[in-house]
Symmetry: C2
Subunit: 340 residues, 2 copies
């Protein structure tokens, strides 16, 4: 790869290079990169705003995450937050802090992943800022999206007896990370080490190249279902369920055997001798949607592929519990993500 020192271009030169031929596709994007602020027009819709800060050594490890994938994922985690409001992502701004060990080509690689995600999801890159960093790579992305006032879904609308649903499957991203960490340890110091990822493509992709469930937002709309509460699974299902229950003032029961888990996830857990349900409940980074629907909407949801009904909301006094296959109730506890 050609290597250009960032200092050869300088701050403005680098921004110019990264943002040339960025095209705006959404009518809401009036003015993008190149002024003091982006200008957007959201006449009849609500504006949704979310932001994520990703730090090297905390949120990602460049020893096993390719820069292009990292860029893609950085955009996706933001799109996912907009989807979790039942909205549609429309614009992002990207700020980078870059230390001198990175070349212009590295940053272009990272940006190519961000721009690919934007292209696939129909999102405009409307602002960019790049500065030096004395330490690691810092990625800060803000995503703006639209929602109709009457269709925005918050965390606090669930009622007892509402059914808890989750899209896709859980735990795969976490098992993908375990695999990457294992291979990284095994390969340490070995030159030309080729990790064997055959039969593990799915869990790797779930970790390295997750998707935001914009399709689920569309399918729910087409089915005429508005969830009563919704979140995306970023920290782990346990943590998100507790958030929904706390905000909605409910308890919940979730059935272990109903939790959707892919075959590769289960196989990897076995290989690593890890508890599968723990991985699925607490793993995080799946970016699936967990949401609740009134009992009356059950049939509409059953017709949508790729959505699992995993339990129901209860009166708050019953607390939050996972019901095991043999009928035991285990209290769901906050794991969250705590790197402090």
């Amino acid at each position: 790869m050609k290597e250009t020192e960032i200092s050869q271009l300088g701050e403005f030169g680098l921004i110019d290079r990264l943002t040339t031929d960025v095209k705006l596709v959404n009518k809401e994007s009036v003015k993008g990169v190149g002024d003091d602020a982006a200008v957007l027009e959201y006449k009849d819709k609500e504006v949704l705003v979310t932001t994520d800060l990703l730090l090297e050594g905390i949120h990602f490890d460049l020893r096993y995450v390719p820069l292009k994938h990292l860029g893609y994922k950085s955009a996706i985690v933001n799109f996912s937050d907009i989807c979790a409001m039942n909205g549609v992502p429309k614009q992002i701004t990207v700020s980078l802090g870059v230390s001198s060990r990175f070349t212009v080509e590295h940053i272009e690689e990272l940006y190519s992943g961000i721009r690919l995600a934007c292209e696939i999801y129909g999102v405009d890159l409307v602002g960019g800022d790049t500065s030096a960093s004395v330490t690691g790579l810092v990625i800060s992305i803000t995503c703006i999206g639209e929602g109709e006032k009457e269709n925005i879904v918050y965390r606090d609308g669930a009622k007892p007896t509402d059914i808890i649903c989750v899209s896709g499957d859980l735990g795969a991203a976490y098992m993908g990370l375990q695999l990457l960490e294992r291979e990284n340890k095994v390969s340490a110091g070995q030159k030309d080490f080729q990790p064997d990822f055959a039969g593990k493509e799915y869990i790797l992709e779930r970790q390295l190249k997750p998707e935001a469930r914009k399709d689920i937002v569309r399918l729910l709309r087409e089915a005429g279902v508005k969830p009563t509460s919704m979140m995306d699974v970023s920290d782990g299902l346990s943590s998100e369920l507790l958030h929904l229950c706390k905000a909605s003032k409910t308890g919940c029961r979730v059935y272990e055997e109903k939790i959707p888990i892919d075959y590769q996830t289960a196989k990897m857990a076995e290989e690593l001798n890890m508890n599968l349900v723990t991985a699925a409940m607490n793993g995080g980074e799946d970016y699936e949607l967990v949401f609740t629907i009134p009992l009356t909407e059950r049939e509409k949801i059953e017709k949508i592929k790729g959505i699992s009904m995993i339990g129901y909301m209860t009166e708050p006094s019953l607390g939050c519990a996972l019901v095991t296959a043999d009928g035991q109730e285990l209290e769901i506890r906050a794991q969250g993500w705590n790197a402090f």
Copy 2:
């Protein structure tokens, strides 16, 4: 000061503590902190979005910047970008990356500065995120503001003969920084060293506690003047003039003797044996507004206190030059800010 380890509260606990009793004052803020995204309503206005990433060791030095001031300034630099579009800041989101050497009380101190700025400027804090950092302190702020479609001012609307105006005075923030750095060196290793800042309060305040010129935006509106182009002075007047000229496809002439400089700035430059005009042209961080107006608006501007007319736009072929007191023309060159 009481010291609470951040790990005692955890990620969610810390966010809760920082964002309790955050009140929303703007009607555009439908939903703030506490969901996957903030919800805003901008029916008849354009939405302005700007974002800034501030990194320890690059953008600030905690050896001489108190955390509360840092918080205040971090918010202000974003408000300033919205003002530079002739808009009004309305909401911010704040993401922090915090290493373990900071306590909960430190972060509360930082937040108190951010919240003070929000209070003074009538801005709502609508999103917050705090995560661990393995390195220094990282502050990422996104500001959302409103502007009327017909009143938004871009960088590209200046025409030859337009008068170049600047608010307030320039170079003070830079001289304040020089002073802080000098005192920091002098005090190195000396216990109980008390720096003597008497008679230098203004330049210190300009560095540590700058303001965004929301008042100028209001005064221009009251006077019925819409600038043809505008920016805020963050990187330095030279750099901003080149941006305006490049975007507007003009040249410019700026008169050295017209550049507004405060007495304390001049005195400090003399004391440090530095070139005063260089400090005023390239110092940066003044957060004043530089803008252009048609010749016909001259009288309206003359009536507004605190605005200086420093030169005019020309045909692009004439280039950009500073005209010295003795009539010499010095080419204005990009200094910008290049820490790479």
